[in-house]
């Protein structure tokens, strides 16, 4: 095999190895708190004003995260470039928080990002809100399949 082809093989091997090292991801290491969506009003979620109730838990022990008062909430979508909805949520009961002034501005798959400070450390937790419908007539859609 000529030198040039050896060089080609080495370059291609190196290039193909790079993605395999993608174990540690930037910006996703603040998972000390876990968020779980408890209820959404209206249900199923539809474009327009909405109230989201979610539970914050300690990621390791599963204990409710209490006493935060308010946390920052960002609603964003799976597609880049859309204006996120940024609001707050107040603690309603132990570990359960309710959004204030939240709205789904577009149909589709949403992600709820909750940010706050707990035990003196900043945290960011994410939860999915799939299938927000443009209107009540839009069918619910499960990614990868279409329900006949």
């Amino acid at each position: 095999m000529g030198t040039r082809w050896t060089v080609l093989l080495i370059i291609l091997s190196l290039v193909s190895l790079v993605p395999l090292t993608a174990a540690c991801r930037r910006g996703e290491a603040t998972a000390s708190v876990h968020v779980e969506v408890v209820a959404i009003d209206p249900s199923p979620p539809t474009v327009g004003p909405a109230t989201v109730r979610f539970r914050l838990q300690d990621s390791t022990e599963g204990k409710p995260v209490v006493g935060l008062g308010t946390v920052e909430v960002e609603g964003t979508m799976s597609h880049a470039g859309m204006e996120p909805v940024i609001t707050t949520a107040r603690e309603e009961e132990d570990g359960v928080y309710v959004t204030e002034g939240f709205a789904f501005t577009m149909g589709g798959d949403w992600i709820l990002i909750v940010r706050g400070t707990w035990n003196g450390q900043r945290f960011e937790a994410r939860a999915e809100i799939p299938n927000v419908r443009s209107s009540a007539a839009t069918p619910v859609h499960q990614h990868g399949t279409v329900r006949p």
Binding site: R4, V7, L8, I11, L12, V15, V18, P19, T21, A22, C24, R25, R26, G27, E28, V47, E74, T76, M77, S78, H79, A80, G81, M82, E83, P84, I86, M106, G107, G108, D109, I111, R126, E128, P130, N131, S134, S135, A137, T138, P139, H141, H143, G144, T145, V146, R147, P148
Partner: protein
């Protein structure tokens, strides 16, 4: 056609020229201008690869989920509409390709059994099907893989085949840019045709060699001989011809979009006659259909349609249903073109429907590009400012310090949504207008009456109405979520 007529037809005196402008002209004439622009985009591509493989899985928080799908696509269509094929000029995939050419000194020709644009057409359809089926726009990791595959493909193909095989025959983005550049207001063109007639060396296509017969400047690798080059098709704006011409007779000149491009029977250097190129005709058809399909994939009614299709065919796999939709849409447009051609044949004394189709199919290109532009500009104008919080977060994550400030996630829109909606409708309407003008020019060229071109005007109007309807639908973004 003899050369005198070709030369005579391409000599335009008195046009403004970008390469003669005080500052910009100097930059464009600088020999390393392209490499510099490519290096900038290569660095951005490096960021996309890095963040795609190592960044957050959530697309709006990742450079790979944002830069290519919101910013790059927006800049591509803006550049094509306002300037020219700047993104082929600055293409970062060409740098590893140049390395491959130097390493392997390829001598093989592109295989004859893969002529013209057929490979690129197949890749275009495959890519946009995968885009919908696997939500590439919502997956930074898959986006990074696509970018990496692009670099590897350019490196391997142009390391194996001589010339610009990748650009001319393979690159789907390049073909998109070539067709889009029909509407560009600039063109790489000669100044004085008589100078080219006197030229003995033809450096613009052969390249320039030193005394030892060593190549010191490439000529056009896409086989476009400047004096016989018509319009922008297949031109990557690489400016090799400009640098190779020993008389400084090549420049980037302003022009009226479409004007030089409308006659499908003109002999074009490196291309031939468009009306004898089924691959080019198919490329236009495919790009038009994909433009509408790509926009359809982002609006709410697509889910009702897929549900209906699923119930009708008893198929629940979304990739399979999307494949059916793609084949169906391409077939529907081909059928509509066939029907319009047959009607024109009935309404006018023309040789046959094939004769009509191979000439009039190109008139759909401006409308198709109008649809692409409206779609991409919508995303660009509603999301351009997301670049700032992304950059702030990127630096914060990497350095642990808010050097650029805390991420301002509330930033997104460049323009108010009402202005954006108006603008994209205007862009779509301009595309429609371009298609109408082209159709009427062909009617004049072939002495056809208004009645004979009515089927084409009807087809273009129908597509235009579909485009307005699509732009008026509520968007619905569904795709891969947190990985």
């Amino acid at each position: 056609m003899n050369r005198t007529t070709v030369l005579g037809s391409t000599s335009h005196q008195g046009w403004g020229e970008l390469t003669q402008l005080p500052l910009l002209g100097r930059v464009l004439r600088w020999r390393h201008a392209r490499t510099t622009a490519q290096t900038v985009l290569l660095l951005l591509a490096g960021l996309v690869l890095y963040d795609g493989f190592f960044g957050p899985s959530l697309a709006p928080k990742n450079l790979a989920g944002t830069l290519p799908w919101v910013h790059w696509r927006g800049f591509v269509v803006l550049a094509l509409l306002l300037a020219g094929n700047l993104f082929c000029f600055a293409c970062p995939f060409m740098l590893p390709r140049r390395l491959a050419q130097q390493l392997f000194r390829p001598t093989r020709s592109w295989p004859r059994w893969l002529p013209g644009k057929w490979v690129a057409v197949t890749l275009l359809v495959g890519f946009f099907w995968a885009y919908e089926a696997f939500d590439l726009w919502a997956s930074p990791l898959l986006t990074a893989w696509v970018a990496l595959a692009y670099f590897v493909a350019a490196f391997v193909i142009d390391g194996f085949f001589r010339g610009a095989a990748f650009c001319k025959h393979v690159c789907p983005i390049g073909q998109f840019n070539f067709v889009g550049s029909l509407l560009s207001p600039t063109e790489v063109r000669i100044r004085d045709a008589s100078m080219c007639q006197r030229c003995q060396t033809k450096d613009c296509i052969r390249g320039r060699f030193d005394a030892n017969q060593r190549l010191v400047q490439r000529g056009c690798e896409l086989g476009l001989y400047q004096p016989a080059k018509i319009g922008n098709l297949d031109c990557t704006f690489c400016l090799d011809c400009l640098h190779a011409c020993p008389y400084g007779n090549v420049g980037i000149r302003w022009r009226l979009p479409l004007k030089a491009e409308m006659d499908p029977e003109t002999l074009r250097s490196g291309i031939g006659h468009l009306h004898t190129r089924p691959d080019w005709a198919t490329l236009v058809l495919v790009l038009v259909a994909l433009g509408f399909l790509n926009a359809f994939g982002m609006v709410s009614p697509v889910y009702r349609f897929l549900e209906w299709l699923s119930q009708t065919l008893h198929i629940s796999s979304e990739p399979a249903l999307l494949a059916i939709v793609f084949v169906g849409a391409l077939a529907a447009l081909a059928l509509a073109i066939g029907l319009a051609s047959q009607l024109t044949r009935v309404l006018a004394p023309v040789p046959g429907p094939r004769w009509v189709a191979t000439r009039f199919v190109y008139t759909l290109a401006p409308l198709g590009f109008g649809m692409w532009s409206a779609h991409y500009l919508f995303h660009f104008f509603t999301g351009a400012l997301t670049l700032l919080p992304l950059a702030q977060q990127f630096v914060l994550d990497l350095t642990g310090q808010a050097i650029l400030g805390q991420p301002a996630w509330h930033l997104a829109s460049l323009l108010p949504i009402a202005t954006t909606t108006d603008l994209v409708l205007i862009v779509l309407a301009l595309g429609y207008f371009g298609s109408l003008v082209w159709t009427m020019q062909l009617a004049k060229r072939y002495r056809l009456g208004l009645l004979a071109i009515l089927p084409w005007i009807g087809l273009q109007t129908g597509l235009f109405v579909v485009g307005i309807w699509l732009l008026g639908q509520p968007m619905e973004m569904r795709g891969t979520l947190l990985g």
